[in-house]
Structures are given as structure tokens and as C-alpha cells.
């Protein structure tokens, strides 16, 4: 069966390779699209928005009037260079050029926004606010995406990608630490909350960690149960899927009643911090959400271990427990790590909602911002949550790649 389908696949694979070769000789249509979008945005949309104070909405200012001509020219030149990269002959040279120009454009674009903020602050005093405009976001997102796309082709290994991402992020961080960005409204919101920001990040990660501490052992056991008892699979995964179906805020809300009743009946629980609102219902709900992907990943991973390997282990005199820990789990590790990545990313996102029941975390900035119509506070929370999820994703993908390296695929 496999042999036959492999043989049938061969012409299709060749055809697709030929198509790919054909495509590589042409311009990069995606990059052309991105650069066109950047040019249109810089020409017609505001690069920053300047407001007289924190609450009033700002007036859009295009790039060329927001910064000194030198900065505007630099950004413009890099956009043109990216356009040239889109048109040159394909190959590693194009990807290298694209990656370098895109990284430079991203940094220049952020620096220009910081520069615009400083000019506004020097001009209209410290109460005036400079927010990032649509053109900024389009250029920043476009160059970040062009960078990711080019590095994806140049260095497919997650570790190499992580290294490049870390290099760009540390350059941006250096820019931020130098004070070049401190007059942007986003930086002001951060400065106002500097004392609690770190604590909320740690709290966010602690909520995810707490949920993992519950979901990993329980989900793992459920996955093993599903493997050993085929009859339990359907009801088990059906029930866990039902939990995933219910909106997070509903589960958070449903736990408030029982937990506050519990804390009312046994007051010592309250001294432990267990009550209707706060971390306890959040961690319980997040644990429930984590069960399905972990149980399913454990089941799929362990089921993927070839039967002859298990038989061989049994023949060598290993008992079931030893087979699980010494044979099955090590062999299933890549799938288990992939499941862990899915869970960590999902829980990092769901924890944002936990702020609504007083559990804290990065969601508290988002919901405070929504309550005060303070756009940049919303942005601070949302961007931080996105970055945290991306870091978790990249870190666990790198771990997965390290674990699979040196294995025959």
C-alpha cells in the first residue's frame, strides 16, 4: 500500500519541484505586495497620532511631517531597498538581502516613531501624547513579516530562527533602553506602571504554570488510560472536548459560585487565598482547558510508538511501567513537546481573560485600558500578551527541534 502510493506520488512530487523552480526565477509577489502596501500607507496614512493629552484622540501626522527629513529619507530608502529585493533574481542572496533590509527597516521605523515622539514632547510639552499610527503599524508588521518569511527560507531550523528573533528584539530593546522611545505614549503607559508591570508578567506566567502543574499529570494519566482502554476513548475525549467548547469566561464565572461557597463553609481556605474570585478559579478553569490537548497529545504520542519496539522491550524483560518510561515516552517525546507547546500557547492566551475575575496578569492592563478608553494601555497589555505567547511558542518549538535533531525522520 505504502509502496504503491509512494510510486504514485513520485510524478506529483517532481511536478511540484518543477513548479517551485519555475516560481523561484520570478519576482517575489508577496514582497511586492508588502512594499506596495507600505508605500501607499506612508503616502496616505498617519505615521503617528498626536493628541493634546492622554484621553483625547489624536490627529494623524504623516511620516514626512512627523520627523526630520533625514529620518523620513532613511525609512523611505529602506522601503525602496526592500522593493528592489523583491524584484532581484531569487535565491539565497535575495533572502539574505530581504532579511537584512527588513530588519533594518523595522528598527528604523521604530526609531523614527520614537524620534517623532521626542519632537512632539519638545514642542508641546510632556502632557501631549504621541501614539503609533496606521502607517507605522503597516510598515512595522510588513517588515517583520518579510523578515520572518525570508529567515524561514534561509534558516528553517527553529533554533536559528530563535537566534535571529532574539538579535532583532535585543536591538529594539537597546533602542528602548537608550531612552529614544520614552516620549511615545506606549512607553509613558509602561513608565506609569513600571512598578506593577513585572509583577503582572510574573503573575501571568505563574497562572499558566499553576494550570500546567495540574493539567500535565492529570492529562498525561488520561492519555495513558485512553491508550490502554479503547472503550474509554470516545467518552473521555468527548467530555474533554465539551470543556474546551465552553467559553473561558463562562467557566471562570461558573467556578465563582462553588468556590465562594466552599470558602464560606471552610474559612481556612480563604486564608490560603482560595475564594470565588482571584487565582483559584482561574487556575482550576485553565487546568480544565489544558486537559484535552495534553491527553490527546499523550495518547497520539504513545500510540505512535511502533508495536515491534514495544514487543522487543517486552522480550528484553521490561515490565509495563519500564516500557512506558524508558521506551514509549522517550520515543514519543517530540509529539509530547508539540502538545505541550499547543497547551502553553493556548493557556497564555486564555489567562488574559482571567483578569476579569481578579486573577491579575497581563489582561488587567487590557481591561483597565478598555475601561478608561486609554488606547495605549490596551496596546501595552495586548502587545505584551502577544509577545509572551510568541516567546513561549518559539522556545518550545526550539526545544522540539533539539529533541528531534539526530533522529531519522
Amino acid at each position: 500500500m505504502t509502496l504503491a502510493s509512494d510510486a504514485a506520488l513520485a510524478p506529483a512530487v517532481e511536478a511540484s519541484l518543477a513548479r517551485r523552480k519555475d516560481a523561484e526565477a520570478r519576482a517575489n509577489p508577496l514582497l511586492v505586495l508588502i512594499v506596495t502596501g507600505m508605500v501607499v500607507a506612508l503616502g496616505s496614512l498617519g505615521f503617528v497620532a498626536v493628541a493634546p493629552n492622554r484621553i483625547l484622540s489624536g490627529k494623524a501626522v504623516p511620516l514626512w511631517s512627523a520627523v526630520e527629513p533625514g529620518s523620513a529619507l532613511l525609512v523611505g530608502a529602506l522601503v525602496v531597498a526592500l522593493g528592489v529585493a523583491a524584484l532581484v533574481r531569487s535565491g539565497p542572496w535575495r533572502d539574505r538581502m530581504t532579511a537584512i533590509v527588513a530588519a533594518a527597516l523595522l528598527i528604523a521605523c521604530v526609531a523614527a516613531a520614537g524620534h517623532a515622539g521626542s519632537l512632539v514632547a519638545a514642542d508641546s510639552g510632556p502632557i501631549a501624547r504621541t501614539s503609533l499610527g496606521a502607517a507605522f503599524w503597516i510598515v512595522a508588521a510588513g517588515s517583520a513579516f518579510a523578515l520572518a518569511d525570508a529567515t524561514g527560507r534561509l534558516a528553517p531550523h527553529p533554533l536559528a530562527q530563535a537566534a535571529i528573533a532574539a538579535a532583532v528584539v535585543s536591538l529594539l530593546a537597546a533602542l528602548a533602553f537608550s531612552g529614544a522611545l520614552s516620549d511615545l505614549s506606549l512607553a509613558r503607559e509602561f513608565a506609569n506602571r513600571q512598578s506593577v508591570y513585572g509583577a503582572e508578567v510574573v503573575r501571568h506566567m505563574a497562572l499558566v504554570g499553576g494550570a500546567l502543574a495540574g493539567a500535565l499529570p492529570i492529562g498525561g494519566v488520561l492519555g495513558v488510560v485512553a491508550l490502554r482502554r479503547p472503550g474509554w476513548r470516545k467518552p473521555l475525549f468527548g467530555t474533554l472536548n465539551l470543556v474546551q467548547t465552553i467559553p473561558s469566561i463562562a467557566i471562570f464565572g461558573l467556578l465563582i459560585g462553588p468556590l465562594s461557597a466552599l470558602a464560606g463553609a471552610a474559612p481556612f481556605l480563604r486564608t490560603l487565598g482560595i475564594g470565588g474570585i482571584g487565582a483559584a478559579p482561574a487556575v482550576i478553569a485553565l487546568t480544565l482547558y489544558g486537559l484535552l490537548p495534553i491527553a490527546r497529545g499523550t495518547f497520539t504520542g504513545l500510540a505512535s510508538v511502533p508495536e515491534p519496539v514495544i514487543d522487543a522491550a517486552r522480550g528484553m524483560g521490561l515490565d509495563e511501567r519500564q516500557i512506558l518510561w524508558k521506551v514509549s515516552i522517550p520515543l514519543a517525546l517530540p509529539i509530547l513537546v508539540a502538545a505541550l507547546r499547543v497547551v502553553v500557547v493556548q493557556l497564555t492566551g486564555l489567562t488574559v481573560v482571567a483578569a476579569l475575575i481578579g486573577a491579575g496578569g497581563l489582561g488587567s492592563f487590557i481591561f483597565q485600558g478598555l475601561g478608561q478608553t486609554a488606547t495605549d494601555l490596551i496596546l501595552l497589555g495586548a502587545l505584551s500578551a502577544i509577545v509572551l505567547a510568541l516567546i513561549a511558542d518559539l522556545a518550545l518549538r526550539s526545544l522540539g527541534a533539539v529533541l528531534t535533531s539526530g533522529r531519522p525522520s
Binding site: 502510493s5 524561514g152 467548547t245 467559553p247 461558573l254 487590557i366 495586548a382 502577544i386
Partner: protein
Amino acid sequence: MSARALPSTGGIHHLAGRPAIWATLAFLAALALLPFSDPLFHALFPELQRPLYTRASFVDLALSHAALVGVASLVVVSVGIGVGIFVTRPAGRDFAGPVDTLTAVGQTFPPTAVLALAVPVIGYGGAPTVIALIAYGLLPVVSATIAGLNAVPVAPVQAADGIGLSPAGRLLKVELPLAAPVILSGVRTSVILNIGTATIGSTVGALTLGSPIIEGLSGSNPAYVLQGAILVGLFAIATDLWFDELEHALH
């Protein structure tokens, strides 16, 4: 499924095997009975002055919630499947890699963060919620369409070419039907995710079944929270079970 295997066992047995119908009935019953449940919630929460959410009728909330998700899902299904088809055709193959990267990276974004980011751009209300639902809901549909079309075996495609079907005919009559189960599972993920995200849409001013929950949380009224949570939980479960039915029907 068991009901399908034994079609002759009659009405009750037929119903017993179809949880989607039970969940829908439970949702409709909750919707109809909650307005009359004042005494029940007074008994459950004696300390509350007004234990029943009355700012908007539950039916209105449910309709508004369903409309937000429905509008977003229509866009998501048509655009998402369209994009998935485009990047798997010869003309769009150049975009396949980047679209793959975009959907993979986009799905790591927390849905609530995407919802919150729509507010600075569009303002408060239903509109940012629909935009966020579309933006986030597209990702699973696009990636499922690509996965489904790429997983279509070569043999039937070659057979379709052999009998002289045009590329469009091959797509409509062979590839899409074979990829349908995978595409449907992507649509399911997207719709269920969007029901949940729409619930949080109440924090940006959309009218949804999440409104009683959010109001109950900010006003320390656990009864409101319970009412909203029951309704939105049943709504999501019923929708998910109908997708189950649809998947069985496809097989």
C-alpha cells in the same frame, strides 16, 4: 451515531442518540424559562436585591450573539476557503509558504488581545468584535483548507484529469468533496472559538450573552454571571454538537 445504525428503533431511541437536539432544546428551554426564574435566583442568592438580569432580554442577547458570530463566520468561511483554494492552485502557489507562516504565527496570538487591538482602530461596540472575530477566525479555516486540499490523494486527481475534467471541475467535483471533512473541522474550530471570543466582546461594548457575565463580574452580582454562563455554555455546546452531526452526515 448509534441511532443511525439502528434506524428502525423509533422516535425516542432516535432522539436519544442525538445529543445535538437535546442540547439545543436545553438552550431554548433556558432561554424561555430564565425570564421567569426570579424566585429561583432570589432563593439562591438571598443577599441580592435584583438577582435577575433585566437590562436586555436574554432572547435579544442570544440573537445579537448569534448574529455577530454568524456574520463573522460567513465572511470567514467564504474568504478562508477562497484563500485556501487560491494558494493551492498554480497561480497562488508563491503565497502558500507565507500564508502558512501567517496562519501559524497568527494562531499563537491570544484572541482577547486581537479583540482589544481592534478597539483603537475602530472604536467600541459590535463592529470591532466582528472584525476581530473575522481576523482570528480566518486562521483555522485557511490552514484547514490548505491541509485538506494538500491531503487529497493523487489517484482521484489524476483520474479526474483523465476523464477530461477542467481544473475548476476537478476542484469542485473531486478535490473539495474529498477535503470537506478537514475543512469542516477547521470551520468548527473557528466558529467555537468565535462564540467564546464574542462573549468577551461584551467588554468592548458588544451585546452578547457575555454581557450579564461581564456586568455581574464588575458589579459583584454572581447571579448575573450564572445566568450568562449557563446560556453561553449551552449555546456553544449545542453548536459544537451540530457540527458533530454535520461531520457524521459527511462520512
